[in-house]
């Protein structure tokens, strides 16, 4: 029996996957204008094959590429109180949430999973920029707490992929409180001596940058990702001058000492495996194609 046919989750994932049926078979790179065939683009993890421009990628697609055999299991995140402030701007927050859920097929802006990456067991969390700009509210806070607790329980490293426009204004002060809340979660990892690696992706801004995205043992960014607290437009308005080319981009932050590395998405898996295994004092990774992992026990029972 083939191990993958035994495993139901990837099939479920593909039903909900947003990129499975592209509206257009060709995608134009916003950076160099090259027309890219959708399959070629998704095989290259949404990185332009011509100019290396990193486009957005959903957490599920990222995890499919990251985990051995594309297999991962979701970690439950406690549901917070919905719309705790009864917030309404031009639209009701509740309606914005409904629209975001419908557009993405996800229930919130962060996905927490566990699985093996190059046979290295990890817990991973990924922020979903397509869900209300990945904004950090109670759910994202709960997700990071759940991720840290699970990592501590399993004694695994936590790898977090950040992407956010900042705090979720519709949750007011409660969104701001995720800065200390997520910091508490990271302290749990620290106390257990477990690695916490942050992969900063485009864009990572505001309260997210000023909390869990800047508290990693290792900070890796994707090329050209915008990483900042105050956005370039706000700064230009304040200081009334034009900012230099590449300001607040990953390479700029690397030069200013805020990051350890800038790594292309296509190289990321290998690099994460290597770093994680060294920090965990594990054997060197096996190069090349790995044998397929065992399917998780609770899934095999179903067949």
């Amino acid at each position: 029996m083939n191990w993958i046919s035994n495993y139901v989750r990837p099939t479920i994932n593909s039903i909900f996957s947003r990129r499975e049926v592209p509206e257009n078979l060709w995608h134009k790179c916003d950076e160099c204008g090259t027309m890219l065939f959708h399959r070629e683009l998704s095989d290259n993890l949404n990185v332009c094959t011509q100019c290396n421009h990193h486009m957005g990628i959903t957490p599920r697609d990222r995890f499919k590429a990251l985990f051995d055999g594309g297999i991962f299991v979701e970690v439950d995140v406690p549901e917070p109180v919905a719309d705790p402030l009864h917030f309404k701007d031009q639209k009701r927050y509740a309606d914005r949430m409904k629209a975001a859920t419908k557009a993405t097929g996800e229930k919130e802006a962060m996905l927490v999973v566990e699985g093996e990456m190059g046979r290295t067991p990890i817990v991973a969390a990924c922020q979903d920029f397509s869900f209300m700009a990945g904004s950090m509210g109670m759910y994202v806070g709960n997700a990071i707490i759940a991720a840290a607790e699970r990592a501590v329980e399993l004694k695994r490293p936590l790898i977090l992929f950040s992407a956010a426009g900042g705090a979720r204004m519709q949750e007011g002060i409660l969104s701001l409180m995720q800065m200390p809340r997520t910091t508490v979660a990271l302290q749990m990892l620290k106390e257990e001596g477990l690695p916490y690696i942050v992969v900063l992706t485009h864009p990572t801004t505001g309260g997210v940058t000023a909390s869990y995205a800047m508290l990693g043992d290792v900070h890796i960014a994707e090329p050209n990702a915008l990483i900042c607290f105050a956005g370039p437009r706000v700064i230009e308005q304040t200081i009334r001058e034009k900012l230099p080319e590449g300001f607040q981009r990953a390479e700029y932050l690397l030069e200013h000492g805020m990051l350890d590395r800038v790594t292309s998405r296509t190289q990321m898996k290998e690099e994460l495996i290597s770093i994680t295994r060294m920090l965990m004092r594990q054997e060197a990774p096996v190069k090349g194609d790995l044998p397929a992992p065992d399917a998780p026990v609770e899934q095999t029972k179903e067949t």
Partner: protein, 320 residues
């Protein structure tokens, strides 16, 4: 001279009229204005009650930003003895937007840290209007470490529009500085109490206010974003700040209901800027009570208490 806020204009007119009347009487002995003046005074007093009994969130923001409101320096001067400012982050510079140092409160040594906005053009510029740069947070981290090492309680006075959106502040990693300051607040094994005395602006405030106990003056505000900023993003119109202030639920009362603010310090009628000494005295009482609540707790318990507080936040929303 009172600095009137826009919503206080009718009050300014009446108080102005009463003042005029008295000036006229001073230059003319024949005139008896006592009745009219008393009537105007009464009218002004009634109006003040009326204006302040139910301030809208936006008006609270205005009161919180009032230039004559007592600032960090005023509290330090009035409530602490032997204040010894300690400067610098030992890496780049000293941030004048952040005051901090050793001092005695009720005779006991403590460490006090706070944002200072300044009170005239010169000092406001020097203080960068209370907007810290990375050096400010890093100085605070250094001072919190010192307090931790020597077992001194930390008192933070928060009054900032937020972090400074400047080029250098970004280049020198203000995100990381804020994150580390918040982390430090959660790590130290000494009592940490915080008071929002004016504006609690976003990450710049969190970096100091992640405390065992948080008190807010009645008309102070604490928010993820300024009402103007929120309005320009969500309403696409910065003039919708009244609506944004309403929606953000940034008042002391709302934050108490959410379990974020532990103590609301009532302000004398007409706001802290009309009764500076009385307000400072009320703040003193709150500091005493909060320190007393935490005295006797072990270092580990203090850390646990802080963590639990933040993990629990958000478990209930506001009533509809």
């Amino acid at each position: 001279m009172t600095n009137y806020l826009d919503f206080e204009k009718p009050l300014a007119e009446i108080e102005g009229k009463a003042e005029e009347l008295r000036a006229m009487a001073r230059s003319n002995d024949e005139m008896d204005i006592s009745k009219e003046a008393a009537a105007l005074d009464q009218k002004a007093a009634d109006m003040l009650v009326d204006l302040y009994k139910d301030l809208t969130p936006w008006r609270k923001c205005q009161v919180a930003r009032h230039p004559q409101r007592p600032h960090c320096q005023d509290y330090i001067d009035a409530l602490f003895t032997e204040y010894t400012p300690l400067a610098g982050d030992r890496a780049f510079g000293d941030d004048h937007a952040v005051m901090g140092g050793l001092a005695r409160f009720d005779g006991k040594p403590v460490l006090v840290i706070g944002h200072e906005k300044g009170n005239d053009t010169k000092s406001r510029i020097e203080r960068n209007f209370g907007m810290a740069r990375p050096e400010g947070y890093r100085k605070a981290i250094r001072l919190m470490d010192m307090a931790d090492k020597f077992g001194l309680p930390v008192i933070t006075l928060v009054d900032t529009p937020g972090a400074y959106p400047g080029k250098g502040a970004e280049e020198r990693g203000q995100s990381e500085a804020i994150a580390r300051s918040t982390e430090k607040c959660l790590q130290i094994k000494v009592p940490l109490i915080s008071l929002i005395i004016g504006e609690g602006g976003s990450g710049g405030a969190v970096a100091f206010a992640t405390a065992n106990r948080l008190a807010m003056l009645e008309h102070s505000v604490y928010s993820v974003i300024s009402p103007e900023g929120c309005a320009s993003i969500l309403w696409k119109d910065a003039e919708k700040m009244r609506e944004a202030a309403e929606a953000l639920r940034l008042t002391a009362k709302d934050l108490a209901e959410l379990g974020i603010c532990d103590r609301v310090i009532p302000e004398p009628l007409g706001g802290a800027h009309r009764h500076r000494a009385d307000t400072i005295e009320l703040v003193k009482g709150a500091i005493e009570k909060m320190l007393a609540e935490l005295s006797g707790k072990s270092g580990d318990d203090l850390v646990k208490d802080r963590r639990q507080k933040f993990l629990t936040i958000g478990s209930r929303g506001l009533a509809a």
